[in-house]
Amino acid sequence: MSAILLIAVPLLAAFISILVKKVSPYLLLLVSLFALVYPFFMDMSDVIIGGFDSPIGINLVVNKFALTSLIAVNGLFFLVVAVNIAQYKKLSSILLVALAGLNGLLLTGDLFNLFVFIEISGIAAYLITTTNKKPLQTFNYLVAGTVGSSLYLLGLIILYNMSGTLNMADMATFVEGNGMYTLFPFLLMFIGLGVEAKLLPFNSWVKGILGHSNNLSGAMIASVYATAIALVFGKLLAGVFQIEGTLALIIALVLGITILAGEAMAYASTKAREILLYSSIAQAGIVILLFTVGLGAWATFFAIANGVSKFILFGVVNRLTEEVGSDEMDQLKGSFVNNKLIGVSFTVAALSILGLPLFFGFVVKMNSLIGFFEPDFVSNLPGGNFIFPIIILVASVIEGVYFVKLLTKLWYKDSDVKVNFTPLFKYVVVVLAVALIVFGLFQGEVEELVASLINPGGVFIWN
């Protein structure tokens, strides 16, 4: 069974769904379910496309990291689709393309192929965000995204010119030997991906997109896409570019500012959706920071935990906004009084993001932080062992204050806001919340899983 099915099947289904409009929603559900289940049965070996061997031809890398991220991203994708498809039947084929793009992102072992998938998933994302009915914001997103991927391509080409390869594993060996010269192209690629990953100076599109998001686009961009891009970042940072020195410092600086500014901006916001979107900027910063300093395994889980939480948070807030007609916190206050189940799930998700015990977020955050303090951990950044944990902790404090503010407003004010959630949405949200708790409680198992992800050096296995 080949990994290529994960990309080919959705693409094929996309063509079919264009031809046969009627079956398209069912096809979408079927295919996304397939994409969720399939990784469980996949062999752990590279897949070579087109008959060329790996340095020359395009290959798909199937390792534990890819499998984990595939399961997480496709799982979230499936849930998002299952919950929202009834409302957005027209988007079926686009969502199928998006699925193909995302799977490609996570699987491919070729840098140019990665660019193609970035563009495919990107175009699908632009189309998904057109459902916000804010064409100007989507346009901003498109411009930013296109410039970003162009920069990625530029950097990539410069690298190709130097190394003569596009294969990630090959590139990794090249970069290792020629650290100094790869800095500039790497930075271009970093900026390009940073646009999609919501890193600070390059993320002006986020507000327009997520600040006006609907049920589908909010969960899709903030949860599925964010997780996927973060993991792609991880793939590059852990597998290809192990950066150090001045470059690492600059990047870490950007990330530190992203984290702190993201939290501060969320703190300064009064709209529920804005709070969540700025918070997800900060979370993205943390994830990529963890990848940068070489704590890849827990960063992966950080991204996944964050994706699950954001799915719940954005899903609930968007639904509330739809009903109430505004996402001002004061308008939404008291809306959980009549929706306790949803409220509890929302709270679990929020507490998990804050890293409070019993929840998955705690396990992830703690272990990431412990990673900084492992006696044999040597940071590739000056003072990295101590400064970045402090940044993360300070960010967590700010984060806590505004989330608690949001939660107390939603729970403890009197109001007669009544919002009807579809039963399916309720189940999904509750199941995810339970999953957060289960992973939070059985951290031993999670740790085993993580331990199986990393080899002694803390770098992903590129088998």
Partner: protein
């Protein structure tokens, strides 16, 4: 020589993105950026005296081909670029329908 032109085109594209306030102009700038990028990619694979990487009956036994890989990449990039442009133009129409103008400054929303 064309390599420099490509870089200048890239810069011009960025300059256009920075200065232009019209949606169509922004898309045009994006296109210029992409053309510059494509030229650049091709120029990376090109060297003076290289041959087009196509086997014909006249191809010498030990051909001195230019690098074919960038050309393949550019083909993909062009197609993707068109997709983006088309989407951007569709959005421009939507924006026009919504705001009655294509000028970003004249739209009330910010």
């Amino acid at each position: 020589m064309l390599q420099f032109a490509a870089i200048i085109l890239l810069m011009l594209g960025l300059y256009g993105l920075l200065t232009q306030r019209n949606v169509i102009k922004i898309i045009i700038s994006l296109n210029i950026l992409e053309i510059g990028l494509n030229l650049f990619i091709i120029s990376v694979g090109y060297f003076e005296g290289g041959l087009a990487p196509i086997f014909t009956s006249e191809t010498p036994a030990n051909p001195n081909f230019v690098d074919p890989l960038p050309q393949a990449l550019v083909l993909t990039a062009i197609v993707i670029g068109v997709g983006t442009t088309a989407l951007g133009l569709a959005l421009a129409r939507k924006i026009y329908q919504k705001y009655g103008t294509l000028n970003l400054d004249e739209m009330g929303e910010n």
